[in-house]
């Protein structure tokens, strides 16, 4: 029997299971950090964690609260400059998996983290790209984590910060993008993959207790649904224990 868990915990566990032992992952703060460290503590002990700040092979003893938290550096295998982490690792195609968040994402996984409204006179000025544009271009695959509502998943995004599977009518192949781009989307309601031909997002898993209509009605286009749609697997007691006791004891993100 499964223990009770929060939606965040379900999302973290689902993301963790996407990471294979021995892979190299570009980690972000928040849920991605929990997912990567959960994987490292369970099925993927040889996962190499790289943080955008230049920390390689990090094994944080506490929950990092920023991409440059000192706990990431102490006991790490290496620290390199920003110049090197982008050139020698990300652009040089050493990164298997990257995580991206999204203020807006369209059906092809094009992501906006720059502005809501027009660029010249924004209604909301968002943080911008950071390393997201490069990660979307160079990482072998990208996992997108977002909270689902109509604002987050409109028919078209206000600004393309990071290219998805098909940007401005051109496929990644046509653009000549070296990395794989978005491979999975995990929201508070379900799990989605991207169609290998059209590059369009497809609903493949629905979280326990969520109605299909809840998922479909909070997507701004006619959402494609997989024929073999399943229920998102629940966290195990052990996974929950590691998250709650070891990774996020103060429950900052769960």
């Amino acid at each position: 029997m499964a223990a009770s868990y929060s939606t965040s915990e379900l999302m973290v566990v689902r993301a963790a299971r996407e990471l294979l032992d021995g892979e190299v992952v570009f980690v972000g703060i928040g849920l991605p950090n929990l997912a990567c460290n959960l994987a490292r503590h369970t099925h993927a002990p040889n996962l190499t964690l790289i943080y955008e700040s230049g920390v390689v092979g990090s094994e944080p003893e506490r929950l990092p609260l920023s991409i440059g938290d000192p706990c990431l550096v102490k006991g790490a295998a290496a620290v390199c400059s920003i110049s090197d982490v982008f050139q020698h690792y990300l652009v040089n195609e050493k990164i298997d998996v990257g995580f991206l968040g999204a203020a807006q994402m369209d059906r092809y996984g094009n992501i906006n983290t720059t502005v809501i409204g027009s660029y010249e006179n924004p209604i909301v000025r968002l943080p911008g790209s950071g390393g997201a544009c490069e990660m979307a271009i160079h990482a072998k695959r990208v996992v997108v984590i977002a909270t689902q509502n109509l604002k987050t998943f409109p028919e078209t995004v206000d600004f393309i910060t990071s290219p998805g599977q098909n940007s401005k009518g051109r496929s990644r192949l046509e653009w000549g993008l070296p990395g794989g781009g978005p491979a999975m989307l995990i929201t508070n309601l379900g799990v989605f993959k991207f169609d290998s031909e059209s590059g369009e997002v497809i609903l493949t898993e629905i979280h326990p207790g969520v109605e299909r209509s809840d998922v479909v009605n909070t997507i701004g286009w006619n959402l494609r649904v997989a024929g073999d749609i399943t229920e998102t697997p629940e966290p195990t007691v052990d996974e929950l224990r590691i998250i709650r006791e070891e990774l996020d004891p103060d429950h900052l993100y769960i």
Binding site: S53, P70, V124, P127, S129, C133, E134, I160
Partner: protein
């Protein structure tokens, strides 16, 4: 040679002029708030502020009216939300209009890589399929003479002044940094003038016992300022931790201009120097943030 040692007040008044393009560096680590606060106190104006992550340090300078332009690649409160000062300037022109020049992280880093290498441009495998080049005319392309493929470029960035915080330096300005080094080295070599701010001033013998640890050589450093706890609320590996409580509290402090102004009055205009700021912070916060001792295994440089 004339000593490079000086006070923060003197270094800022001598090197930072109204209208200067400045870069106070440190990628989430070694962010020299002491320098920013002195610039605010000296009421410098029309500065172009360059940083990959404007962070709280530029949010404060923008809210204080020091900046007319910001060049950046990610403008959030790291791990803790929005930069409301910067957003108010862009969204509502409060306290005044703010010109924006925006890149991805690698794009802005590449501008400094080019600046440090005296290259007029740097080729970056980025921006394909993104809208960023459409809103930034400085992002251009060249054709590779070997593959014939087009590749994006950014122009060199050479700030008038770079301010770099570090753990330690000698009086000649030979500066050593460990932990996250960000883009500090390239920034120092790209800038026309360099101010180094350190937690500890050490004998040259200490620096020279480990020359590979030196990130910035004294020959490119114009001024050296000793300013313990000069990065609070940011952190210095091996010296003190990041004050995450303050980074989180900044959301409420900065959400409206009046409460942000009260912060500036109390913590910046209301103190005369970083040492007064540290005094005001009090011994409890200082000891709460103090780093534990975790020493490196020494290596041998003998022959």
């Amino acid at each position: 040679m004339k000593s490079k040692l000086t006070t923060m007040a003197d270094a800022i008044s001598r090197f930072v002029e109204d209208g200067s393009t400045i870069l106070i560096d440190g990628f989430t680590h070694l962010i020299c708030f002491a320098a920013a606060h002195e610039i605010i106190r000296q009421r410098k104006r029309n500065l172009t502020l360059c940083r990959m992550t404007p962070d709280l340090i530029y949010d404060q300078m923008i809210a204080a009216g020091c900046a007319s332009k910001v060049i950046f690649s990610w403008a959030g409160n790291p791990g803790a939300g929005s930069l409301f000062g910067l957003r108010r300037a862009i969204e509502k022109q409060i306290p005044g209009p703010l010109e924006v020049e925006e890149y991805s992280h690698f794009g802005l880093a590449a501008r400094l890589i080019a600046g440090a290498a005296n290259l007029p441009f740097y080729p970056v495998q980025s921006y394909l399929g993104s809208d960023l080049p459409e809103v930034n005319p400085r992002i251009r392309t060249v054709t590779c003479p070997y593959t014939e493929r087009s590749i994006a470029t950014v122009p060199a960035l050479n700030p008038d002044i770079a301010i770099v915080h570090a753990q330690r330096a000698d009086s000649d300005g030979n500066t050593q940094v460990w932990g996250i080094t960000g883009i500090q080295k390239e920034t120092a070599f790209a800038a026309k003038s360099v101010i180094v701010v350190v937690e500890e001033l050490v004998d040259s013998k200490v620096i020279r016992s480990d020359p590979n640890r030196t990130l910035i050589p004294g020959m490119v450093v114009d001024a050296v300022v000793l300013e313990p706890l000069g990065c609070h609320p940011s952190y210095v590996q091996g010296y003190y931790d990041r004050d995450n409580d303050f980074y989180i509290a900044w959301g409420d402090i900065s959400r409206d201009q009046s409460s942000l102004d009260r912060y500036l009055d109390e913590w910046i205009y209301g103190v005369g120097s970083r040492s007064e700021y540290v005094e005001k912070l009090g011994p409890d916060d200082v000891s709460r943030l103090k780093a534990e001792l975790v020493l490196t295994t020494p290596v041998n440089y003998g022959y």
